[in-house]
Symmetry: C2
Subunit: 96 residues, 2 copies
C-alpha cells in the first residue's frame, strides 16, 4: 500500500521543528521524504497502524495536522514535479 | 480529475511567503487549501495545464518544489487526518 503523509506544523517554533523531526524519523522507516513535510511511504496495514500510533503520540493535535492519502500502485506515473526534484524511485537500482 | 498539489517553499523568507500566496491563489480557483502548502483541487486536463503554467511562472525552480499527485475519484474515503481537520467536503451541502 502506497501512502502520502503530509504534515502541517509550525516549524518556526523549536517545539514544532522537533515534532517534525520525530514525524520525519517515523516516516523514513517506511519510505522517503519528498518535500520538507511530505513523505511517500510503502506500508502494510499493520505498519500503517504502527506509523499512525507513533505520529499520533508525537503531534500536538490542537495545532498540527497530518493527512494520510492512499495512492494507487503506479505512483510513479501519477506524480509530476515543477522545480526541484527531491525524490528517488524506491524501486529503481541503487548503486552504492 | 482530482489532484493534490504539495508545495515546498522556504516561507521564512518574504519572497518565499509571497510565492506561496501566489500559488495558493492559483490553486484556490480549483479547490481548497487543506494544509499550509497542500491543496486538493478538482480540475479538467485543460485547467491543470493552466494551473501548471501559472505555478511554473511563480515558483523559483531552483529553490522550490511543487508536486502534483493524481488521486483516484473516491478521495473522501482515501484520506485520514490526525490532529486538526482543515478541509471540507467540496461535494457536501454548503449552508450560507
Amino acid at each position: 500500500m502506497y501512502i502520502l503523509v503530509t504534515y502541517d506544523v509550525d516549524t518556526t517554533s523549536k517545539e514544532g521543528a522537533r515534532r517534525l523531526r520525530c514525524v520525519a524519523k517515523a516516516c523514513l522507516n517506511y519510505g522517503q521524504r519528498v518535500q520538507n513535510s511530505v513523505f511517500e511511504c510503502e506500508v502494510t496495514e499493520a505498519q500503517l497502524c504502527t506509523l499512525k500510533n507513533i505520529i499520533g503520540n508525537v503531534i500536538d493535535t490542537k495545532q498540527d495536522s497530518v493527512r494520510f492519502y492512499y495512492l494507487n500502485r503506479n505512483i510513479a506515473r501519477r506524480v509530476e514535479v515543477l522545480g526541484k526534484e527531491t525524490s528517488y524511485d524506491v524501486n529503481d537500482v541503487m548503486i552504492i
